[in-house]
Symmetry: C2
Subunit: 582 residues, 2 copies
């Protein structure tokens, strides 16, 4: 046996926290060394956290990141480590350092820079053109960073064809959206199979603002089979033994790559860099059984993403407790449940703020939920405040029937009360609006949008129900009636969401998905079977409410396109549905 | 004489408004034809407005933009027109169409795509590699788009060296920051001189969200002299006659370019495209005198930028009137003055909302300002509302001395009152915070940050005073005492800004400029003469308050780096001053 023991250090680091991240890396290094790991891989930009955004434009941050890397070098005696950092010559590079046996052996620069969706890498980095092969004389190792391996050709092709790589590793910062884990796994299996090499990727775990990293770091054999997989969403150190002889035998059986060459010789240079210590050992007792961790699917996957995203946002920003306005409805019930799963019941405070329009059912359901979740519930009635506001405004408002002004006023009183509690007790307020509401602006700016994090900002209303049902199937904490009562904001008598919205949620959500996530035209959406006037109204509302979304809290991304860095629209915009008549 | 009459159509279009923009273009076309213009140039992406951002990802928008361009073609009988639009093959291009005598003659694709600062062009476009020369057999015309000509080499070099261009035009969308107009002018003069060609650029005028386009479209002679300049900030149609014989003579006198060649032959292809009608005419009576419009400088330039940015934000978003919380302080006084200059006094409403902590001086100054500006002033006292809030919260708040909670509460009551008026009367609320406050978070989220547009978000406090002084020098509308009283939020007895802030504004502003705009390190700022503990505190406050800025209204960019698209920082960030000890 010629065994290479690979370790994938799936860490949850914090952007900018060079000292803390260095500590996390050093701890993993010790654990891996104890397990006789030969090659230990960390995620993309593990040293700085991902994404550092414009902190990269600060030269002293780049200096500090290089100093931190220097501190790591002497700690690599007896092991080979690959870690993401920011390299600099005249330009900056999204880079991987190979440190081995106390030496900085070489560096790889990311060649394919993503500049779409949530990514802005051309803003900071220059693409690399050198793809070194690292070798101990027996095994040949190629390195790639995230996007590099999302392209069927590119660095991996040069590494395999020109450099004869046996193993290609990938340092990754691949943000979660629903089902992405499975898609990523299928794609990386294909890369391994196409090129007949072992492929191992190491992703981040945990949340960073709107992004959630789902981990699931994996190793694939040269014929594309999943050999090992780390946990989803959590930190993990995944280890597996790779048999070099098997890789080479596989190559002999399948001497041709499955793909015709596309990379021209000049595109990448492929220098060879010797490693100061062997990666492969004969002696190793290969008692290590590769582990394939369970990965959740469907509503469970999304629910866990939201729990991790909430926990990390709260904790990495230095908060212990959160406050949530509980209305008795489904959105706030789900947010409270997620918060309790993220932080525990003692660190979640519910605040019920009834008005003359609140029903007894709402009060009972809010209290029942709080009891089921074992959280504190404060009750602060708002009627008196509402009346004093109306009195102060009376000389200036004309005598119209109460309308949006009065409805928004109630929502803003609630937002102000929550923020007062937040100011006094340092509780982070979690906003409870969902994606359907944010899309069409069915929310009061500075009212129910107030808060530090909008947990459901990327969760359409119909998915809110699905997640709540799934969570209740484990342990029924959300009262039954919350599922069956028609959704209402309770800002006027007998109000129902579906009277205010252009369509019931069951139609609104697929229209929004088609328009917001898939860039479908009015014509195409109408062809899917929705009435043209409804679709038109939805599109117009989406654009008219950009200003509300721009001032709303950051929300956790769980779809291919979230409201946030993912979707950048002007506020001043005169493109409306009529510009695109079917 | 062989005269080419160039027209630069410096328009103020709206993003997404294809129909409206087409109308603006057609109107300019008629005016230019009446003046016998041979070559009429519009700004970059004039058809779509700039920047369309993710609207570009919507295929039906691209279709509609191509249809709009088609409609323009038959209108170009007897004239040659160059207009910015979005071209598409498999990819999208930031493009210029050359339409001449009723035919679409050819297309230029922007070669250098900016992806820094406020720009994200790699997100949407593919760079062009073809730089055609358009010719009527006598004059040779090269086209460039904005960034293309900010590089000393690139397309212009290929056009001149390989294509023998006599005239290079530039379609521009160059957002304003202070002194940029003058820098741009100096640079384009250099390009004309370096390459010995006539250079003419056409910029946008007016505001688009945070961006202000300052116009100043200009034409430079082949020896780098300014021949003509359009107005600053406003729409304008600039026309000038260029004598081709003079250009050619100039070339004969100075047969060599001032620069050594840098563009390799393969980088760009330079096809020649014939024009269906002559650009140059002998007969033209050259009675047209080139006009060099006045361009404001210093505080006047910035003040006018803010006026235009405010006017366009309000009007393009469909509002007529604005409401401003007048505190009696300098910030709100300046915002009200700018609003009156932008919209006229009848469309500006001041709202004075005193509490027990408001001084008589504040009331008097607010009223005096309103009187001087001839605007309506509403007075809504907030004490009763404040008391009822405190009563509602009393069972939950511990009995601490009043602090931040109570201060923020007052600010949020004011924000809520302004928003109620906004909801009822459709007044857009203008927020009055300045850049110094936004930088260190000296503002209440959902309180004084509430509003649709933060007019002074990019104006440091010391510049607020300078702008107010300049405006008063024209006509003293802001009461004298507003300049001399120490700034205060009046949220507690005897409060003064400078007691709450880490340094007086005279020190705070240069520290902020060094850190936020210039990416200086702690060490460098301390070397400029500021105490290390103060600088450290400022840096930490800047990072701690990212969450407030992210939920604050869009603000008008007037410095090289504004809080907005220009500066992208994570909220979750553990990079602090201590990470960078001097």
């Amino acid at each position: 046996m010629a065994v290479l023991r690979i370790g994938l250090a799936q860490v949850d680091v914090t952007v900018g926290d060079l000292e803390g991240n260095l500590r996390v890396i050093a701890d993993c290094l010790e654990s891996a060394r104890a397990e006789e790991v030969d090659l230990l891989v960390f995620p993309e930009l593990a040293l700085t956290g991902y994404p550092p955004e414009d902190l990269l434009l600060n030269p002293s941050f780049i200096d500090a990141n290089l100093k931190a890397l220097q501190k790591l070098i002497p700690q690599t005696k007896g092991i080979t480590l690959v870690v993401g950092f920011v390299d600099r010559d005249r330009d900056l590079y999204n880079a991987a350092a190979v440190l081995s046996d106390g030496k900085w052996v070489g560096t790889y620069h990311k060649a394919k820079l993503p500049n779409y969706g949530v990514f802005d890498e051309y803003r900071y980095f220059r693409p690399g053109q050198k793809v070194p092969i690292f070798t101990d004389g027996r095994v040949r190792l190629g390195i790639t960073i995230c996007e590099d391996l999302w392209h069927p050709t590119g660095p991996i092709e040069a590494e395999v064809r020109q450099g004869g790589a046996d193993v290609v590793i990938n340092l990754m910062a691949s943000p979660y959206h629903r089902t992405k884990g499975a898609e990523r796994e299928a794609m990386f299996a294909t890369r391994a199979l196409d090129y007949g090499v072992i492929v191992a990727f190491c992703n981040h775990a945990g949340g960073q603002d709107e992004l959630i990293f789902d981990g699931r770091s994996s190793i694939f054999t040269a014929n594309g089979e999943l050999l090992a997989r780390a946990k989803s969403f959590e930190e993990d150190l995944l280890m597996a033994d790779v048999d070099l002889i098997e890789v080479l035998r596989h190559r002999l059986r399948q001497p041709r790559l499955r793909l015709a060459p596309t990379t021209t010789e000049e595109e990448y240079s492929v220098p060879e860099i010797p490693l100061p210590r062997p990666l492969v050992s004969e002696q190793k007792s290969s008692g290590l059984k590769p582990r394939i961790a369970f990965s959740p699917q469907g509503p469970e996957e999304i629910y866990r993403a939201l729990v991790v995203g909430t926990r990390d946002y709260v904790q990495k920003n230095g908060f212990e407790r959160v406050a949530i306005g509980l209305s008795g409805g489904i959105d706030s019930a789900l947010v409270a449940t997620i918060a309790v799963d993220a932080l525990g019941p003692k660190d979640v405070i519910g605040v019920f703020m009834p008005s003359r329009f609140s029903s007894e059912a709402s009060r009972k359901d809010a209290h029942k939920l709080a009891k089921n979740l074992k959280i504190r519930l404060l009750e602060i009635p708002i009627d008196e405040i509402f009346d004093v506001f109306l009195k102060a405004l009376a000389p200036f408002l004309d005598k119209k029937a109460p309308g949006k002004t009065e409805e928004n006023l109630q929502a803003r009183i609630r937002g102000t009360l929550l923020m007062a509690l937040s100011n006094r007790f340092n509780w982070l307020v979690l906003a409870t609006g969902n994606k359907s509401e944010f899309a069409v602006g069915y929310a009061t700016l500075y009212g129910d949008t107030a808060g530090g994090l909008a947990v459901l900002k990327d969760v359409p209303k119909t998915l809110v129900y699905e997640l709540a049902r799934w969570r209740n199937s484990k342990n029924p904490v959300i009262p039954k009636r919350v599922f069956t009562r028609p959704p209402t904001a309770e800002l006027r008598p007998c109000q129902r969401d579906e009277d205010d919205l252009p369509a019931p949620y069951s139609a609104l959500d697929p229209i929004l998905q088609a328009y917001v996530e898939q860039d479908r035209s009015l014509r195409e959406i109408v062809q899917q079977g929705f009435p043209a006037d409804v679709v038109r109204r939805v599109i117009d509302l989406v654009h008219q409410n950009e200003y509300k979304r721009r001032q709303s809290p950051v929300g956790l991304k769980i779809t291919p396109r979230a409201f946030g860095k993912d979707r950048r629209f002007p506020i001043t915009l005169r493109w409306r549905s009529k510009s695109d008549e079917p």
